[in-house]
């Protein structure tokens, strides 16, 4: 099924906005996506009609709120094809999900001399928690390098995967290069030496069909706000056996079965990892976002993005002085980071904003990757289900205009 792009766009009220008297062209969904009406309506309805704290309440409102919140968990579980709802832990975002694993599984399983294998294209949130853990436990970080055209050097993987590697943490899609990584293959090889694999799905889950059983990963982390849902809610998927064996993360209400003065016992999964009042309405909003994406079909979403990005790549590559990072269209998702002539990314982003176009400038939380590519900062346009080839045209025109204003030759 093909996306009906006009209908999709009509679902996102913010796309009617004018910025500096020009129609908004939103090309920063890799940072955070816009929200469709069904998500906004589900959240408003939750606050207006069935809001109360979840879990312990006996009264009707609390029952209703609990049902909606827990229904969202079922939706997420089915969306990623988890074996059981108990494998879906709600967190604040990807970052918190990764930290949860680092603080619980990591402290229990990583010791002196152990290695954690990352890749050079990771987001800071899939680097820093492991640095903290490695420092604390006397472990070592090793990195799978990237090629000049922004792919993982898979021929180096087996060298790096030795018996010291206890964990592999890898992104499903680079938020700078757009590269879609062969996570299934990485999981297969990592499991062969007994390593646990965490997949950073912050960019992958919003844009690609994801099946955790097919990928075979042990953990998957992602954020609601990048997949049409609200901020403040994210997900850690974990294999049940691993989650069962892990100590809890934060202590407090909801995560306990029984509390005595000097000791407590833990609640069942998934609540063992959800201390305190959760992001109730955000969870419900995420459930609505999953319904929305499933209604369109993730295959259709991915196909639409592939087409739009292929067009954008072609259009941008034709501009003199354009350097696009990352692999060709067939190996990437909706992210296009580039440098243009020698125009500073801040100036480009600013000049594009004056044309109503929202892009991001900077290192996109991937400083090691930029360093590897010999860059400090880039400009990034990221496309999602509501973007069109016409918007790529407008981007290319606005870039040419920026070059004229700054008088920069190609």
């Amino acid at each position: 099924m093909k996306l009906d792009i006009e209908r999709v766009r009509a679902d996102f009220p913010i796309l009617l906005r004018q910025i500096h008297d020009k129609p908004l062209i939103f090309l920063d969904s890799a940072a955070s996506s816009q929200k469709p009406l069904p998500v906004l309506q589900a959240m408003e309805a939750a606050y207006r009609q069935c809001y109360a704290n979840v879990h312990r309440g006996v009264y009707t409102l609390s029952e209703e709120a609990t049902c909606s919140y827990e229904a969202a968990r079922d939706k997420v579980a089915s969306f990623i094809n988890a074996r059981a709802r108990e494998e879906v832990i709600f967190t604040r975002n990807t970052t918190e999900a990764i930290n949860l694993v680092a603080y619980t599984w990591g402290r229990a399983n990583i010791g002196p001399g152990d290695r954690i294998l990352l890749t050079e294209m990771e987001h800071h949130s899939n680097i820093v928690p492991w640095q903290v853990l490695a420092q604390e436990r006397g472990a070592e970080l090793v990195y799978l390098p990237v090629t000049d055209d922004g792919r993982l050097q898979m021929d180096r993987l087996d060298d790096l995967l030795d018996e010291r590697v206890k964990l592999v943490a890898v992104t499903m899609m680079s938020n700078v290069l757009g590269t879609i990584t062969p996570v299934r293959e990485i999981v297969r090889r990592a499991h062969a030496i007994g390593a646990v694999v965490l997949v950073d799905g912050a960019q992958g889950v919003p844009h690609l069909p994801v099946d955790v059983q097919d990928i075979g990963c042990d953990f998957l982390a992602f954020s609601g706000h990048k997949m049409c849902g609200p901020s403040g809610i994210g997900v850690l998927y974990g294999r049940e056996a691993l989650l069962e064996g892990m100590p809890p993360f934060l202590g407090g209400g909801d995560m306990i079965r029984r509390v005595e003065l000097h000791r407590s016992t833990w609640n069942d999964l998934p609540w063992k990892f959800e201390a305190g009042t959760p992001a109730i309405v955000e969870g419900i909003g995420l459930g609505a976002a999953v319904d929305y994406l499933e209604g369109l079909g993730m295959e259709a979403v991915a196909a639409h993005e592939r087409e739009t990005v292929a067009y954008a790549l072609e259009r941008l590559a034709a501009l003199p002085g354009m350097r696009i990072l990352g692999p060709p269209a067939e190996a990437r998702g909706g992210v296009v980071a580039f440098t243009f002539r020698d125009i500073h990314p801040h100036d480009l982003a600013h000049l594009l904003d004056l044309e109503g176009i929202a892009v991001r400038a900077g290192h996109h939380c991937a400083q090691p990757l930029h360093k590897r590519l010999g860059l400090v900062a880039t400009t990034r346009a990221s496309f999602y289900l509501y973007n069109t080839p016409q918007e790529a045209d407008r981007l290319a025109e606005a870039l040419e205009k920026a070059a004229r204003i700054l008088g920069k030759a190609g």
Partner: protein, 126 residues
């Protein structure tokens, strides 16, 4: 509606920077940087006996806003004494540029002032 800061006066300072370069044996040197974009500004000043700026130079890499601001600041500090240099505020720096900037770009505009402040801080108290 916000106006474009990319106006002739700013672009002129960017394309034809005043006082870009280095001084030999400056009395004051300060640097500031922004790790988000890798921009850096270095400001060097020479003072006379009355502790007034007689020469200024700046260097570094950055966007139009930060480099134009550095050029303007290097021009404006001429003749100021230490007390006047210390008295320069963010408001003064933004007024020199004379354009409206959002929260993010204001940081670019203020980088040269941060370099000046770093230089003053490093000054041995006499």
């Amino acid at each position: 509606m916000a106006q474009s800061p990319y106006r002739e006066r700013i672009l002129d300072h960017y394309r034809n920077p005043r006082h870009r370069g280095r001084l030999e044996g400056p009395d004051l040197v300060g640097e500031a940087d922004n790790p988000v974009c890798g921009d850096r500004v270095r400001l060097e000043l020479r003072l006379d006996e009355a502790e007034q700026v007689v020469e200024a130079a700046f260097g570094g890499d950055g966007c139009v806003i930060s480099m134009a601001a550095a050029s303007m600041l290097a021009e404006q500090v001429h003749g100021l004494n230490l007390e006047e240099l210390r008295g320069l505020t963010e408001k003064d720096m933004l007024a020199m540029l004379g354009v409206e900037l959002g929260r993010a770009r204001t940081q670019c505009a203020l980088m040269p002032l941060r370099a000046l402040q770093a230089a003053l801080k490093a000054l041995p108290t006499r």
